[in-house]
């Protein structure tokens, strides 16, 4: 079976670990536990007629792109950039991370996830910002690790891109 390494990237407390847990184990906890280092999970995803084993590298959140340890990125086939819809600065930090990853790995498949869609009344990331990124060709998906909204779609969409790459 084809194995693909996928990195979860974003600043702290945006919900990277929760998204992986929701996707892999279908569970969610409201309590915030910061990640130190990296945790690796795997899940098989069906893409058309073939199966892909996604190796999900849940990498510790950093405050700036400079703090990202690039050795964790080695061999990545794709990545999910995660921002927290209620914290606008997390989007800007995700954009800076994307630039750094591209410098390091070149252009590889990725998606931008705007997480915490269960709290849209508190969002500070505006629709026009997401539209501007979509117009640049980015795939932007709203997700909620809490309710599961958009989570399966996001991972499957990336798996599809990896299969096509």
């Amino acid at each position: 079976m084809i194995q693909k390494k996928v990195c979860m990237l974003g600043t702290f407390a945006v919900g990277k670990t929760s998204l992986v847990r929701r996707f892999v184990e279908s569970i969610y906890s409201d309590k915030y536990h910061t990640t130190v280092g990296v945790k690796i999970d795997k899940k098989v995803v069906q893409v058309d007629a073939s199966e892909i084993m996604l190796m999900l590298w849940d990498i510790e959140g950093t405050d700036t792109e400079h703090e990202l340890r690039t050795s964790y990125l080695r061999g990545a086939s794709g990545y999910l950039l995660v921002a927290d819809g209620t914290r606008q600065d997390t989007l800007y930090k995700a954009l800076a991370l994307q630039t750094k990853v591209t410098e390091h790995l070149g252009t590889i498949p990725f998606l931008l996830l705007i997480n915490k869609a269960d709290l849209t009344d508190q969002w500070s990331i505006r629709e026009r910002e997401m539209t501007a990124l979509r117009e640049k060709g980015w795939e932007v998906i709203q997700t909620s690790a809490k309710t599961g909204f958009g989570v399966e779609d996001a991972f499957h969409s990336l798996a599809k891109k990896l299969a096509e790459a």
């Binding site: 390494k5 702290f12 536990h33 130190v36 990296v38 690796i40 050795s71 061999g75 086939s77």
Partner: protein, 176 residues
């Protein structure tokens, strides 16, 4: 370990062995397993087949081999629940060595500090959000007060005009 007498070297080695549970894999450039040793089981690494690509059974090695450059360091890699390792990958003429040293204690220590830091930063974010909501609510209130004050001023002027009108009418009645 230059200039260190043998007993000191031995002590350091036994300390390393005791505290860091070293384990290793030795693989070809492309990741085929040649040799293994140390406390691999404590990292959840067992039943590794010889002459097979290790990245198939060791998740953190996927995409790592063949090694680019002389070495690669992957700190705090969770190898099984509650167990973390610092992973060093370095190449030599005969192949590539992968060394695991236990970092569970250090990871837990950092986790506690990082949790406090990030919790407090999230709290600051929340306070800032609440502060800005209060500021906006205050601005709305001030606008309302200004509008009401203008309305009241108009009503007072209207009342004064009506009173003057009534007064004039009363005088006219008295004079006639």
């Amino acid at each position: 370990m230059r200039d260190l007498p043998v007993p000191i070297r031995d002590f350091i080695l036994s300390l390393t062995d005791e505290m860091l549970s070293p384990a290793y894999l030795f693989v070809t450039e492309n990741g085929r397993l040649l040799e293994r040793g140390g406390d691999l089981e404590s990292y959840g690494l067992k039943d590794l087949a010889d002459d097979v690509d290790v990245s198939e059974s060791v998740p953190f090695l996927l995409g790592v081999l063949p090694l680019e450059g002389k070495s690669l360091f992957l700190p705090h890699v969770q190898t099984k629940p509650e167990v973390f390792a610092d992973v060093y990958v370095f190449g030599r003429e005969q192949g590539t060595w992968i060394l695991l040293l236990d970092s569970t204690f250090e990871t837990a220590r950092q986790q506690v500090m990082q949790q406090k830091l990030y919790d407090s930063r999230l709290k600051v974010n929340e306070l800032e959000r609440e502060g800005s909501a209060l500021y906006e609510a205050n601005a709305v209130l001030e606008q309302l007060v200004t509008e009401r004050t203008a309305e009241m001023a108009q009503i007072i002027m209207q009342l004064r005009r009506q009173i003057a009108e009534i007064e004039r009418a009363r005088k006219v009645r008295q004079e006639s």
